[in-house]
């Protein structure tokens, strides 16, 4: 062993004795409930728009895709935000969340991981759907 390594191995270290703050901390933490960082609210906006166009197409004998296409072409900026940027952000945030849960859950088996993150996976799927829909309609027009 190198002399410096020996110094590191043998040096005295500060120790922790009885911690008074532990009891207060444990009492407070046990009372808390989990808070979801991400909600479905951001995905519901494009979904609401899709539902609105679908309903309009049912009652006004208008094509569903035509309504969406018109919206995407007439309102370029809001459409890009709702159908591309927001869903892309959601995909990234949820992917990070899944990675974090995998780490915090002690690297579980795939099946158990899926049951723990099904909500995040659903959000990613919906977000991907929004992006695909946007680019399909852009391509068609």
């Amino acid at each position: 062993m190198e002399p410096f390594e020996e110094t590191l191995s043998n040096m005295s270290l500060p120790e922790t004795g009885e911690l008074q703050h532990r009891h207060l901390l444990s009492g407070q933490i046990i009372q808390l409930k989990e808070e979801r960082n991400l909600t479905l609210w951001w995905v519901t906006i494009p979904l609401f728009l899709i539902a609105a166009f679908y309903m309009r197409s049912c009652y006004m004998h208008n094509s569903f895709t035509e309504g969406l296409e018109t919206f995407i072409n007439d309102q370029k900026m809001p459409a890009t935000w709702l159908f591309v940027i927001a869903p892309a952000l959601l995909i990234v945030l949820n992917a990070f969340r899944i990675k974090k849960i995998y780490f915090l859950a002690g690297s579980p088996k795939l099946i158990n991981l899926v049951s723990a993150v099904w909500m995040n996976l659903a959000m990613i799927t919906i977000a991907v759907g929004c992006i695909i829909l946007y680019f399909t309609l852009i391509h068609l027009s």
Partner: protein
């Protein structure tokens, strides 16, 4: 009670998490304190570690790594975030009311006095820690776990999520860099 029994008891009744505090808070807090050298930072990071553990323990799967290793893993992750971004995640305190936060700070004051006296008795360690903090976090974590916590290569690998080979190669390089930094002072 074995760790597996403890986990299933927590799943049935979250109040049993108190037992995790009783068993592991002091060693995990000690590890965080020895990495930061600061009682306030250590208390904040330890609080965040145990809060995350409490929130995620139902998802925790007992697959070879113990609860203690898992807690060290979360603590290491929190410490790395702290050293990388110079920012603490304080989601646990943001959910307390002001009176509870104040009460926590008051109780911590007693522990602070005790630790400040304790830290002063370990001058060599304080010098090494000062240099260690200047190093990249991947070196910091393996050196601290090896020489401050006396963990084996396998345990360090489990805590950091790196392979044993990577830990073995990081350690001597890290020690050399640390020696250079210590000698510069």
């Amino acid at each position: 009670m074995t760790e597996e029994q403890l986990l299933s008891a927590i799943r049935e009744n979250p109040q049993v998490f108190e037992e995790v505090f009783r068993r592991y808070y002091t060693p995990v807090f000690g590890y965080i304190l020895r990495r930061t050298g600061n009682i306030d930072d250590a208390a904040d990071i330890a609080a965040e570690t145990f809060y995350k553990a409490f929130v995620h323990i139902r998802k925790f799967e007992y697959r070879g790594i113990s609860i203690k290793v898992w807690l060290y893993r979360i603590a290491t992750n929190e410490l790395n975030m702290f050293f990388r971004f110079r920012k603490k995640q304080l989601s646990v305190f943001s959910r307390w009311d002001a009176a509870t936060v104040q009460e926590f700070r008051n109780v911590l004051h007693h522990d602070r006095e005790m630790f400040e006296a304790e830290l002063k008795r370990h001058e060599r360690y304080l010098d090494v820690l000062k240099s260690l903090k200047q190093m990249p976090v991947n070196y910091q974590e393996v050196i601290a776990l090896k020489y401050f916590e006396s963990k084996s290569i396998r345990e360090i690998s489990e805590i950091t999520g790196r392979s044993e080979g990577t830990v073995k190669s990081l350690l001597p390089r890290g020690v050399k860099k640390l020696q250079l930094l210590c000698n510069q002072k």
